[in-house]
Amino acid sequence: MTALEWWLALSIMLFCIGAFGVLARRNVILIVMSLELMLNAVNIALVAIANFRAGSPAAGLMFSLFIITIAAAEVAIGLAIVVANYRSRRTVQADSFSEMKG
């Protein structure tokens, strides 16, 4: 396996762990953490490909920077929702968010 493939394998592993966390966990905070894991897996893939394949690594790095920034904002909003929800119903279980159930 080449170096790039190793990096991509790491990325895929991290992504799958994150996806599993999102799907299997009931605690919203853990779900958000798993989401971060997935995002960072993507970051690794981007940086690796940029480094080994693209003429200039700048594009991949730029994408990663954007993703990190947006993820920070997203986490802030996500945690704020979790806190607001916790205040109103004393729980952070994802199953309790079911007002829109058909």
């Binding site: 999102v22 799907l23 919203v28 994802a94 199953d95 079911s98 829109m100 159930k101």
Partner: protein
Amino acid sequence: MSTIIALIPVLPLVGFVVTLLLGKRLFGRQAHLLATALVTASCVLALIVFAQLFQHPEEPLEVSLFTWVTAGQFTVQWGYYVDSLTAVMLVVVGVIGMLVHYYSIGYMHGDEGYYRFFAYLNLFMFAMFVLILADNFLLLFLAWEGVGLCSYLLIAFWFRKKSASQAGKKAFLVNRVGDFGFTLGMFLIFVTTGTLQFTGVFGEAETIGSGTLAWICLLLFTGAVGKSAQFPLHVWLPDAMEGPTPVSALIHAATMVNAGVYMVARAYPLFIHSEASMLVVMIVGTFTAIYAAYIAITQNDIKKVIAYSTVSSLGFMFLALGAGAWVAGVFYLFVHGFFKGLLFLCSGSVIHAMGGEQDMRKMGGLRTRIPVTFWTMLIGAVALIGVFPLSGFWAKDEILGGAFLEGYYVVWVVGIITAFLTAVFAFRLMFLTFWGENRASEEVQAHVHESPLVMTLPLVALAIPSALLGALAGWPPEAGWIHTFLEPVFFDVHHEEFVWLGEGGALMVLSSVVVLLGVYLAYVLYLKRPELPARIAERSGPAYTASLNKLYMDQVYEVVPIRSTIYFAQALWRGFDEAVIDGAVNGLARLWAWAGAGLRPLQTGRLQNYALGIFVGMVVLVVVVRWF
């Protein structure tokens, strides 16, 4: 001159707007002031225009005000065309309109809709003036509908009375039938000639194929049949008597109902090239004349008698037009407006005196009690039946003479019989109302009084032309002033001459004798031996009841078009509207509701289910993009 012509219709329009919007607040009980003043001014202007035409009948005046409709190639001007035919109509409409306005001041006094009445009358005057002034078919049609609207508003003026509002509706709906034909005729004219301007259309009259031309004429005539209450669309006119009497005089005797005759006379260059449609016009007119006269003999409502007489007279005019006696037809229209308007106003005065009673069986002996009404009505009745030398005589004899000369002997005989019947019912009305014992209740009798001056003066003012106009315009017969005056309009009329002078004279004597016989018959039946009519009625059985029931035309309409329409509508309602349309709409709604219920379990409300959905969706997407 063009300013004057343009002003004639505008003045009543101003009167209408102001009186309707501000009349009650501004004038109160004096709501007639502005309306009558403006109509008087219009009448004066109309007479000025008439005087101009009187001097130069061969020079029509044309006024184009503005472009009314533009659509591609199609333009219509709001323009006026005044020739001697228009001038004759201007006099009839202006003078009678003005007098009816004056009369209404007295007749409608104290009515709660006083201002409304005068506003409508003014609107009517506007529409009627535009109708006779119009220089194209579309503008004529606009005004045609305008007078129809006013007719509806004024018939149903006392709209709280069920019968009045229904009579208004009836008039409106029956006229729709005729107007439908008129509209189609107009379309056909436009398709054929590419214009609706009178001068343009008539200029091409000779080039139109005879089949198309016959269709155009017959469709236009359908409109005239509706508006001028000819068989079989006459049923609305007798019912229109539910309106106030001045309305009956102005709209349903002297002006609006003549619009059909006027329109056919206006379309003269079309009709003379279509012999078939002339024949139809004549047959319809002849039949209506005798048919309505037959009904009129047995009616007991004083206004109904005059209404049927109007239908009969209008039939007479169409008879004249169809037989080719164009000038005689318009001449009859001219004098008929005056004496029929007079008869209606007199009957209004009688009704006024009798405290609202319209049944002639409860009248009688009013001769000395209301002398002005009596004398003027006598003049009107004598003029109607055509006794020498009053107006009706000249016009009626020209029509009969025309039919005779053209060789329509059957029509001539029917005309003579109609004249006889007219004499009978007119003097039946006179004898029942003014002679004999008064058959009203004590209370009503004590109340009988002559109408105020504002009502009697118009009667006198109309009695004068009713008496003299015929001789002034019609002497000598077949060559009187009216002939020279209208010659530029009916340019192509060929004249059959009487072979010898005595022939015309003999016809006149004959018709006069017939008329006097009719009067004598009425005298015997209703004055000398008043017990006779009831016995005759009993003896003649169905002939009498048929006449009393207006030959069952209302029933025929009830059964054929009205019922069938109702059944058809009901079938559509139940069968199509409720089953098909409502069914489709409700079915669709039910389909979506059902689909929604089926899909609802997908919305679990569990966050992870949705996340799984997204994840699986993405995997599927990647697989599809990569391997397919």
